[in-house]
Amino acid sequence: MMLWSLVLVPFVAGLVSYVIVSDRIRRSVWFIAMAFHLFISFFLSFDGGEAGMSLQGGWLTLDALSRIFMPLTSLLFAAATLYAIGAFENEHGRKSDPGKAASAKVRRLSPESVFTGCILVFLASMTTVILSHRLGLQWVAIEATTLASTPLIYYHQGKRSLEAAWKYILLCSVGIAVALLGIFSLALAASGVTSELSVDSLVTHATQLDPRWLKLVFVFILVGYGTKMGLAPLHTWLPDAHSEAPSAVSALLSGALLNCAFIGILRVLQILNAAGMGSFGEHILIFLGLFSMGVAAIFILRQPDYKRLLAYSSVEHMGIVILGTGLASEGMFGSLLHAVNHSFVKSMLFMTAGNILAIYATKRIDGVRALKNRVPLLAVLWFGGFLAITGSPPFGTFISEFSILQEAVNQERYVTVGLYLFFLLLVFVGMAATFSKMTFGATTDTAPPKPLHVWSLVPPVFLGLAALMMGLYIPQQLDTMLRNAAALISGGAL
């Protein structure tokens, strides 16, 4: 029953908060739902029943994979909630003080209730994606995440955010339609063998599934969920959507949503590995991974807008994750660890970007100077995030990127290693120029910046520390969970 509550509570809270008028009550509803979700998911994952707890014939189960992503998503959601409320305060604060009114383009804000409602439904759908063991249900949930997140993107009602939202929904829906084709062909492949499309039954009967259809399934699912995950060349919506959405939403999009799409692909990979066709998709995955890193590197070099820069770095990191999955065995462990690290660091960076936007009121990099002197805490977060996102050691991303590199070297794929390191270097060069230009430099106006609401600063600091902790000391329990998940996906071939 607990698992269903994880889905239903946020869903109901979302519907309810559509109608609540007063901000205070709605925020408290939102807060309670978030707290409940956080507590339950941590309680279930870390010391819930050892075996996968399934319910009602396996609709929702908590297996090794979801045991990692469930707490991660709810943690990110909690951070995003706090940040969003803090950002609203900043926004209201800004609107009220007269001096600023003229300069900042005051956009007409659709009522906050739509925002809260959608974000809670968004959480519900993400939870279903992570927990569902039925691929059909999983598809529905992923489609639901798209639909729930579209209104969040055009929350600011500007021309640019509308355009971004339109491209987002159109491209993702087309992608997911292709994924639906994949689900149907999977059903066709399993038509003789098992009736319902649950992962466990498919894995047990994997060998009897028709291999040719399985290949088709893999292609459709990869293209379908790949569009959702932002792999190049299907990534084109990601920079627009993530940069135009409010920072709390882009933090959630980059941090949590991309992982859900990744889980969709992993489920199918699990079946493929069980059917002994694991090595079939390897080359495609590695190619897509490297291609995404390459495309991201192209657009990161001399990118004028820092939120788009972070979006492209999400494309790059998803490329790394897919590259790791393609390398299997140790690479799988590296990619899962990288997905977790990336979520922490990227959402921290998006929140800090939001704070910078609140103070400097411009998304252009040239508009932001001498962050170090004006807002030291933000500068520390911003530059620390830069070091984390480019995989420098004290942070967790270094460990995961190095284990993926190690796996690529173990498999003597020297071309992949060469390209991998070259793209990482290109991304570093591109980002170094941008981040150092923003952090350092001299300022002329000595006016102290507008004080930020405390809730908009606490989550990024917390996430930054989490990323640092992941780099220095990964607790034993988390490590075993990651290893079990990797083993689960690669069919115990670790």
Binding site: L137, T150, L162, W166, A177, D240, R302, A433
Partner: protein, 228 residues
């Protein structure tokens, strides 16, 4: 029976290829909705349960009545009556439509893996043709509303491929798919409404404010200096 339905489906999507007026395309979509609903019921008549009944009826109601109504409502409020000069002229798109029809029938017939038992080749070719038609509409038409229609046709095509194994899908999943498509199109409708108010046009061709392709000259830009 199935052959007639698939032929009718093919004809309606051919119309979509050729029609320049949005009103006609919406009517075609209504027709497709009904056809698919009937096909679903006919196909699963062997093991008709309450669930399949509800799904069949709801698909007819949603795709045949509610969504087209919404599209017409949005059509009236946004002044985009005509689909004017799309990327590919109507004559040529019709010609491409025929080509696609040939291609999908060719693929359906000799992709003779074990679909024989679950999907008759005729329906499979119609489904493929619908998918291609949906994709084509999204790619070539400029008006936002036509793109929504294209998406709807794409979903119909995918739904058609899934006809055969409709009964095996549990009820919730089937209803979930239906609901998603409905909410999807509904949301697109609202957005067209908003776009129309914000941009006072719904021409997606002019949607290119978000881009990176301004190739800044490497030589003169300031940063290049400090890169050395």
């Amino acid at each position: 029976m199935i052959n007639t339905i698939s032929i009718l489906l093919a004809i309606t999507s051919l119309f979509l290829f050729g029609s320049s007026r949005v009103r006609i395309s919406i009517r075609m979509v209504i027709l497709q909705g009904f056809l698919l609903g009937i096909a679903f019921l006919y196909y699963n008549q062997a093991h008709l349960t309450i669930g399949t009944w509800i799904i069949g009826v709801s698909s007819i109601v949603l795709k045949g009545i509610v969504l087209p109504w919404l599209l017409t409502f949005v059509l009236h409020r946004s002044r985009a009556k005509l689909e004017i000069e799309p990327y590919v002229g109507f004559g040529t798109s019709l010609f491409i439509g025929v080509l696609l029809l040939g291609f999908s029938t060719y693929v359906a017939w000799n992709l003779a893996i074990n679909t024989a038992r679950t999907i008759p080749p005729a329906l499979f070719s119609a489904a493929l043709f619908l998918i291609f038609c949906g994709m084509f509409l999204i790619v070539t038409r400029k008006k936002a509303i036509t793109q929504t229609i294209g998406y709807l046709v794409l979903e119909n095509g995918v739904f058609a491929t899934g006809l055969g194994i409709g009964h095996e899908f549990p009820f919730i999943v089937e209803m979930g798919v239906m609901l998603d498509i409905f909410v999807g199109v509904f949301l697109m409708g609202i957005m067209i409404f908003r776009i129309d108010r914000a941009f006072d046009h719904t021409d997606t061709h002019r949607f290119n404010e978000l881009l990176d392709s301004i190739a800044t000259e490497p030589a003169d830009s300031a940063e290049m200096e400090n890169i050395q």
